[in-house]
Amino acid sequence: MIKDFVKGLWRENPVFVQVLGMCPTLAVTTKALFGLSMGMATLFVLVSSGMVISAIRRFVPRQVRIPIFTVIIATFVTAADYFLKANFYEISKALGPYVPLIVVNCIILGRAEAFASKHGVARSFLDAAGMGIGFTLALIVLGSVRELLGSGTVFGYRVMWAGFTDWIIMVLPAGAFITLGLLVGVFNMMDKRFMKRAEEK
């Protein structure tokens, strides 16, 4: 059971390994806080839709499962979007249209199809939670790097020295792509190292 949860964090991390859900990842991670918020919203949708889909899986006719999954996902996304607008207005404005785009975030439909529709509610919850948290962590890392180099702050706290000139490119699309590409490279290197050590034992 634990494996269901842990795999989403590293081995099958949605961002660094599966390279899914790129759209929001690159778009909103201009600041670490936004990465965290988007991650949380996605986690919410992942877990709630995963549990619902798992619960009704025996009653859903095979032919229409994709439309039904999609409607369920879209409903939870709408709920998340309105919740953010009501309670975290500034963050909602910053995340903008990328919250509704969670609907087409390949991760959610992917997990629903690959796991939630085939397993019980408890395991589906763990799978979704793992993927969601893995996703959030990846976003926080990317967001922190871009915020650090692009604005000199991390989560709003000034970290870089006073004379540091912001690398504006970090805040722009080009920087997002390049940073993520490099982070994927770093992740792969670290992964290789862990694998080697595990073998040597």
Partner: protein
Amino acid sequence: MTDKKSSVVKIILSLTLVGMVSGSLLVSVYNYAMPKIKTNVRAGTEKAIKNIFPETEEIKNTKEEGVFRAVGENGKFLGYAILAEGNGYQGIIKLIVGVNEDMSEMTGMEVLESQETPGLGAEIAGEAFRKQFEGLSLKHAMEYLKNQKPQEPYQIEAITGATISSRAVVNLLNERLDSVREKLKLKKI
């Protein structure tokens, strides 16, 4: 998953059921969230108006939507606060400007929402650009100049490298102010 070929009835039933549950869930979310969202939007507008007219004690609506009266101590009329919006380079730009009683002069400008490029177009929300609107004459249509200091009291200098965003601001303001002038039945320029 029911692998056997399900009857058409089952398919329609499941779709309808999901649709209905989803619909009712969304209606309740909507009812819960809408009042809060309206409050948030209003709070944002009020904050911006207070930035433009620091002595504001009360903000009153007028007959016109998006036009407010800023009222200070002892009911002193400070000016009109006007909401304006239009298409920028990357999306919609929402502004609020302060003008005096006969709309001959602008008191200030605040950006409420913008999706312009950070570091370039987004600088329309920056101090330097906005300061140009304080005391700007409205006796003539606003104009922008590129790489040149303003020559006339109704001109501003566009942001270097962000001409489109600057132009968008000027255009949307001109349009909005003209329309408000007509609605308030003030003299046209």
